[in-house]
Subunit: 158 residues, 2 copies
């Protein structure tokens, strides 16, 4: 942990505070850093923008990608005031930064009634045992499109 | 599986095809249904909009919430042409629809080189064993904000 790491995490925590105080959403903030500089910031905006995906990390990642003009966060570091929920962890893996620093963890989040831990548990369950019912239909129809993708020539992979 | 379910899934698969053909992104489509009607549609737009979070389900969920003016998809059903990746699964749990139908699964996705299966495996690993390094710092500083949230009076929970 360097002085810079502390500085960037303090900024993420400050954003969590700002978002909470302005009633933007829950108490979560995040920044994306590249080459030692913050290139994007975000705090949770779920309830104020009616967007359940507007978690701090997702907001910061989307802004960072927009700024960089790419869908990949090569050589970037994400600092988030709380351990990413499964959605944000997925977003991080798709964006592929080189590292993540977090402050509070999912146990802390559960204590203030956020569902992170519950969702992690649901992910480990078989489809039929989940709280939200998942049903597979028309697999063969959809596989046709996947096969077309597989043989498509002019495609951008990610 | 009803006739309606088939109809909605066929629409999701059609969207996957359209998104792929127009080079919006990967071959994935989704619709959100409420009271027997499609209220929002989406296809993957990752590469065309430089947004790693713009998976079909996330796009459709965000649009559905915007249309309904809420951050919760009460009584809604999500139809997606492929089993949701961890990010989309997380988004679904936060949006809380009542059910999900999917067509292709994560094995099909892995066959055409999408990372879903890899990310599911990463989620099950301990922090220190993950491909992307996760480090916890300044937990106590961030807990201060969580405690303020806990005692905050005028807050919208989600």
């Amino acid at each position: 942990m360097t002085e810079k790491d502390i500085q960037f995490m303090k900024r993420a925590i400050k954003l969590a505070q700002e978002g909470m105080n302005s009633n933007a959403g829950g108490p979560f903030g995040a920044v994306v850093v590249k080459d030692g500089e913050i290139i994007a910031e975000g705090f949770n905006r779920v309830t104020s923008t009616n967007d359940p995906t507007a978690h701090a990390e997702v907001v910061a990642i989307r802004r960072a990608c927009e700024k960089l003009g790419t869908f990949q966060l090569d050589d970037c570091i994400v600092y988030t005031s709380c351990e990413p929920c499964p959605m944000c962890l997925g977003a991080i893996y798709w964006a592929r930064p080189k590292a993540v620093f977090y402050a509070c963890d999912k146990v802390d989040a559960a204590k203030i009634d956020f569902d992170d831990q519950f969702i992690y548990e649901e992910l480990d369950k078989k489809m039929g045992e989940r709280t939200i019912k998942f049903t597979q239909i028309l697999q063969k129809d959809a596989q046709v499109v996947f096969n077309e993708w597989d043989s498509k020539v002019n495609k951008t992979e990610y």
